[in-house]
Amino acid sequence: MTSRLTPNRIDPEAERRGVEGPDLGGQAVFVGVVRRDPVGETRVRALRYEAYAPLARRELDRLEKEAQARWGPLRVRIVHRVGRVPVGEASVVVAVGAPHRAQAFDACRYLIDRLKDEVPIWKSEETGPAARSGSRR
């Protein structure tokens, strides 16, 4: 299985390369990125993610198996970051390589949607003054 949790920065391009294959004519990559949402008078500066790792890994593997059964053969990489993730960095990448584009899009969307509901990962917000981050453009 090729899905994982990592405390390190995720490189979406590396994950896309991981789902290449000579019989796979379509790749879909979803990248979830931390936004600087307003929170009252402040803004999000970073998100902190925690996971119940043993169960989270098993659930990621299970979702991949479900996608394989439905749209396979696929190549799948799901990577979710844990720990502090600053605004602008990826918190999650779902990469799918499939024979054709329809399976790639459908499986990618299915995996990110199910991940949010079914994998034991939680976020919390770290905020900072709105003025400073707001003036940066």
Partner: protein, 84 residues
């Protein structure tokens, strides 16, 4: 018995992420454990009502309060997920 508390459950338990129940009586089933948690940390009540439960890293098939748990078990309280 080791109890793991994540996210909102940890916040409701004054920031404690691990509870150890070593002295008797160690809760014998899930209902006793949940009642004890709520008694010790009243703010946990509403969180427990919305949480999934795993024992030794496996979801309980149905979180029946009569499910037996053993002193060596690790029970995880899993509030609604917010990954992604």
């Amino acid at each position: 018995m080791k109890v793991l508390l994540f996210s909102l459950a940890r916040e409701a338990a004054d920031g404690r992420s691990v509870l150890n129940y070593v002295r008797t009586p160690v809760p014998a089933d899930l209902g006793e454990l949940l009642a004890r948690l709520e008694q010790e940390y009243p703010r946990l009540g509403p969180v427990l009502a919305r949480s999934r439960v795993a024992v030794n890293g496996e979801y309980l098939p149905s979180p029946d309060r009569r499910t037996k748990i053993a002193p060596k078990d690790e029970v995880a309280i899993l509030p609604p997920y917010s990954g992604g």
